[in-house]
Symmetry: C2
Subunit: 327 residues, 2 copies
Amino acid sequence: MTTIRVLVESDLRATVGLGEQELDAIEAVYPLISAGVGSMPPIMRIDVPESNGEIDIKSAYLPGHSGIAVKVSAGFFDNPARGLPSLGGLMMVFDAETGIPRSALFDNGYLTDLRTGLAGAVAARNLAREDASVAAIVGAGAQARYQLEALTLVRPIELAKIWARNRERAERYAAEMAERLGLEVVAVSSLDSAVAESDVVVTTTPSTEPLIEQSMLHPGLHVTAVGSDAEMKQEIAVDALARADRFVCDSIAQSSRLGELRAVLASGLDMSVVELGQVITGEEPGRVSDDDITVCDLTGTGAQDTAIASLAVERCDLSGAGITIET
Amino acid sequence: MTTIRVLVESDLRATVGLGEQELDAIEAVYPLISAGVGSMPPIMRIDVPESNGEIDIKSAYLPGHSGIAVKVSAGFFDNPARGLPSLGGLMMVFDAETGIPRSALFDNGYLTDLRTGLAGAVAARNLAREDASVAAIVGAGAQARYQLEALTLVRPIELAKIWARNRERAERYAAEMAERLGLEVVAVSSLDSAVAESDVVVTTTPSTEPLIEQSMLHPGLHVTAVGSDAEMKQEIAVDALARADRFVCDSIAQSSRLGELRAVLASGLDMSVVELGQVITGEEPGRVSDDDITVCDLTGTGAQDTAIASLAVERCDLSGAGITIET
């Protein structure tokens, strides 16, 4: 007999968000990943070709965390034609000391959106200029919203320029986020000039063609790429990465398979790459001058899932949120 | 917004059991595995050395099945010292057409016990002599109980001999199962003579040393090994496997890493091995004479989990069992 706390999206939205504690919890995982502490196996993937779908499973054990999250993400790309969202999933949390199931989190992807947004803030906090005040956001979906709001936690953002293939979505984003954040947010038609006029750029697209070209870079720029999480995706041109003074990945192992590093390796170019955890601890330098160009590739790790889910379940245990079930 | 059916062990015990339909559902997966139909990635494993524990994740997509199960099994071997069971886990079921979460199954391991028992019956149905009436069961735990009951579904078992390291547990097993099944069930002190006098043997132990030696084999015998599911485990001596007329695995890929086949490969011996699915379809011969010695190694597959969980969720959708949650 075990007591399971069952949490749904509204419980989780009321419990964890884009806050300082959440940011610190996410930042703390990267040094553990880079030190090889704990256990984070490669992503498990189940292909469902008949439905144009796939299920991905991420997990990690991290010492010092109360839980071990197992996250199941589904991407079924024929769903929109049926009026259903293409992405979905849930997390399960197991007690890190006993392995006993503690909680089922039916979050509809909220925790993934949140921890991904927070990862963007961690990247900016460690790599962008301290005085970065102008941001360019590439893409106008849910993650583009999280990324901009997360940036405001760590840098004095005053102006955000939104570029998306669909101009109408960019306009809607600008209106919505200007109101929500009390910033100047504008939809722009030229990605080139948006990047040229920005201190920090975040790309949030499923693009399979590079969007950020070498010619767009300028001294002082920081770029975070959060879109690529699959073999065919790429947001940043290899020569742009080569031009950067510092290229940082959340996980070199994952980025070599699924992230921007994959294209670098395929190109045969010899490029220095370090992990975000090494920059956070100071083991490797990050930005060393205001004129450096820095790039961070975030593929998203099971360690982040374990960190955010552990925090959420601890808080819900205290507040009594959700319902409990006796197995 | 998604509706999730939450099921606990009692719901599942009332819904699926050692029955003909369940047996057929499990038997149907092996030809799919052997044909490489669907998608069954290797087991994902998260080590938790600080707690002497590990979490294993199995999953499979099988065409023609309504669900995709993701099973998380935890084995934390310091738990008994805290008065907690060392094994636990749960399953999640996702819609195979849309990837949308359908059900959370807090089964306390029941479905794994059940599908493992059924796999033993599938092995016996395809490999043991038709007239097998005497069974030897090695081990006296939960799975030893499932295996004997499952055997009675497919062969005219009249007498079962139980051998376990702990004689007292074997005696308790014998008394309990004799009453439950209406058979003669006796605890025995000699494994050698139990095997010598049996038509079918099922080993259900976590042994790391072979229990079944070549000298114990006799014409007509069938042995099913269900215990080995990890690198260090072994129930059958390699020379006993070499002596068998037919050596069959549920999954050659898994058995080479975690099952009896691992020791064979380590020994360097060249041995013919086929998959259970190939025997079921007739692509490879199974038992061709009443005097053949046959061995089947079952490591347990995500495909079985998907089959039993899909069946359970379909039935619970019809009966309305469990509770539903709106995410």
